[in-house]
C-alpha cells in the first residue's frame, strides 16, 4: 500500500515537473524545455509506432491473412514497396503506394461538394428571408454576406467598381467573423490552462498528504 503510493507519487511528480518544464518555454528556450521537448518527440513517435502496429496493422493485415483472407496480402505488398525508397535503383517502386494513397483523395470530390456546396445552399435557403421580423431581415443580411464574401474570393476579376465595393463589404464580414471566432476561443484555451493548474494543485495535495 505504502509502496504503490510512493510509486504513484513519483510518476505524478515526474508529470508535474514536465508540466512546469513545458511552461518554462513561455519565458524562453532553456534546458528544461529542451529536455521535455526531446523526450516527448521520442516517446510520441514510439507510442504511435506501437499503437499503429498493434491496433491497425495487426487487425487489418496480419489477423486477416492468418484466417485465410489472402487478398489482404496485396496492400501488404504495396506497403512494403514504400521501403524500396532505400534503394536508388528501385526507388520508383515506392511511387505506386504513394499514387494509390493520393488517389484516395478522390473521395473528397463528392464529400466536399455535398458538405460545402449542396448543404450550405440548402441551409441558407432554409432560413426564412423577409422583412416581417428582425430575424427575417438579418437572414437577408446573411445571404448578402455570403454573396459578397464569395465575391471577395473571385480570382479572375479585379476588385474594382461596384464589384470591388461588394468584395470589400465581403471582407468586412469575413473580418467580423474571424474576430468573433477568435474571441470565443479564448474561453476554451483558458480552460485548458486552468486544467493544468488544477493538475498541479492536485499534485501539491498529493505531496502534502504523503508527508503529513
Amino acid at each position: 500500500m505504502e509502496d504503490s503510493m510512493t510509486v504513484e507519487l513519483l510518476w505524478t511528480t515526474l508529470a508535474a515537473l514536465l508540466t512546469v518544464a513545458t511552461f518554462s518555454f513561455l519565458y524562453k528556450d532553456n534546458p528544461f524545455y529542451k529536455f521535455a521537448e526531446h523526450l516527448v518527440v521520442g516517446v510520441g513517435a514510439g507510442y504511435f509506432a506501437v499503437l499503429l502496429v498493434m491496433n491497425s496493422l495487426k487487425p487489418t493485415l496480419i489477423d486477416r491473412v492468418i484466417i485465410g483472407q489472402w487478398w489482404y496480402l496485396i496492400p501488404g505488398i504495396l506497403g512494403a514497396m514504400m521501403w524500396f525508397r532505400f534503394s536508388k535503383k528501385l526507388a520508383w517502386l515506392s511511387r505506386f503506394p504513394i499514387a494509390f494513397y493520393i488517389g484516395t483523395s478522390g473521395v473528397a470530390i463528392p464529400l466536399y461538394m455535398y458538405n460545402s456546396v449542396n448543404r450550405q445552399l440548402s441551409a441558407t435557403l432554409d432560413l426564412t428571408p423577409g422583412f416581417g421580423s428582425l430575424t427575417e431581415f438579418w437572414n437577408i443580411i446573411i445571404v448578402i454576406g455570403v454573396l459578397t464574401g464569395l465575391m471577395y474570393f473571385f480570382f479572375s476579376k479585379e476588385h474594382k467598381g461596384a464589384f470591388g465595393g461588394a468584395a470589400k463589404f465581403g471582407i468586412w464580414i469575413l473580418m467580423l467573423g474571424f474576430g468573433s471566432s477568435f474571441g470565443y476561443t479564448v474561453m476554451a484555451r483558458v480552460s485548458l490552462f486552468v486544467q493544468r493548474i488544477a493538475f498541479l494543485e492536485e499534485w501539491y495535495f498529493m505531496v502534502k498528504n504523503y508527508f503529513v
Binding site: 510518476w11 508529470a15 511552461f23 513561455l26 529542451k34 521535455a36 523526450l39 516527448v40 521520442g42 516517446v43 513517435a45 514510439g46 507510442y47 509506432a49 506501437v50 499503429l52 498493434m54 491497425s56 496493422l57 487478398w71 496492400p75 504495396l78 506497403g79 512494403a80 514504400m82 511511387r95 503506394p97 504513394i98 494509390f100 494513397y101 488517389g103 484516395t104 478522390g106 473521395v107 473528397a108 470530390i109 463528392p110 460545402s116 456546396v117 450550405q120 441551409a123 443580411i141 454576406g145 455570403v146 459578397t148 471577395y152 465581403g170 471582407i171 464580414i173 473580418m175 467580423l176 467573423g177 474576430g179 468573433s180 471566432s181 477568435f182 479564448v186 474561453m187 490552462f193 493538475f199
Partner: protein, 199 residues
C-alpha cells in the same frame, strides 16, 4: 492508378450496395496498411537525424540521446516479446505520465499565445483590423460582468455570432468546397502532379 482509384472513390459515394461498401472499406484498409509500413520510414528518418547529431557531436547533441532513449523505451516495451503489448507497465506509464502531461501543457500554452496575439494584432490600424478588434472585444467582454451594460453586450455578441460569423463561415466553406473539388479533379486528371516529384 490515381485516376482509377479516384474515380472509384467518387462513384462509390452514389452507390449504396453492399459489394461497393465492402470494396470501399477494403481500399481504406489499404491506406491504413500503407501508412503503417511508411511509418518505418519515419522512424528511420528520426533515427538518422538524431544519430547524425550525436555522431557529429553537433550543438545540443545530448538532447538527441534523450529522443532516442524515449523512442526505444516505447518500442522495446511496446513490442517486448511475451510481455509487450499496449498494456505494458512502462509503455502505459510513459504514455500517461510523459506524453499526456507534456502534450496537454503544450496545448494549454494556447491560452497565453491567444493573449499575446490579441495584444499585438488587435489594434485599430485599418478598417479591417478595427473590425477584427471590435468583434473580438465584444465576444470577450461578454464574459465580464458589467452590470446594466451586460445585456446589450450579450445581445450584440449573439448577433455577431449569428449573422456576420455565419455569413463569413459559409462564404469560406463554399469557396473551400469548390477549390477542393477542383484540386481533387486536377489530381485525378493528372494535371496537378507535383507529389510525384516532377512537374
Amino acid at each position: 492508378m490515381v485516376f482509377t482509384v479516384s474515380l472509384f472513390m467518387v462513384i462509390q459515394y452514389f452507390v449504396p450496395l453492399d459489394s461497393w461498401a465492402w470494396m470501399y472499406q477494403y481500399l481504406i484498409d489499404w491506406t491504413i496498411i500503407i501508412g503503417v509500413f511508411a511509418l518505418l520510414l519515419g522512424i528511420w528518418s528520426l533515427l538518422r537525424v538524431n544519430w547524425g547529431k550525436i555522431s557529429r557531436r553537433s550543438e545540443n547533441w545530448g538532447y538527441a540521446v534523450i529522443t532516442l532513449v524515449g523512442l526505444f523505451v516505447m518500442l522495446i516495451f511496446g513490442f517486448f516479446p511475451g510481455g509487450g503489448n499496449l498494456n505494458n507497465y512502462v509503455y502505459e506509464h510513459f504514455f500517461f505520465y510523459i506524453l499526456v502531461p507534456i502534450q496537454a501543457t503544450m496545448f494549454s500554452l494556447l491560452a497565453f499565445f491567444i493573449a499575446s496575439a490579441a495584444f499585438r494584432a488587435f489594434r485599430a490600424r485599418s478598417v479591417l483590423a478595427t473590425l477584427l478588434l471590435i468583434a473580438g472585444l465584444v465576444i470577450m467582454i461578454r464574459f465580464v460582468p458589467m452590470g446594466p451594460l451586460s445585456e446589450p453586450i450579450s445581445d450584440l455578441a449573439s448577433w455577431i455570432l449569428k449573422v456576420p460569423n455565419l455569413a463569413a463561415k459559409r462564404a469560406i466553406i463554399i469557396g473551400i468546397g469548390l477549390g477542393a473539388v477542383a484540386t481533387a479533379l486536377k489530381i485525378m486528371l493528372g494535371i496537378e502532379r507535383a507529389y510525384l516529384g516532377r512537374d
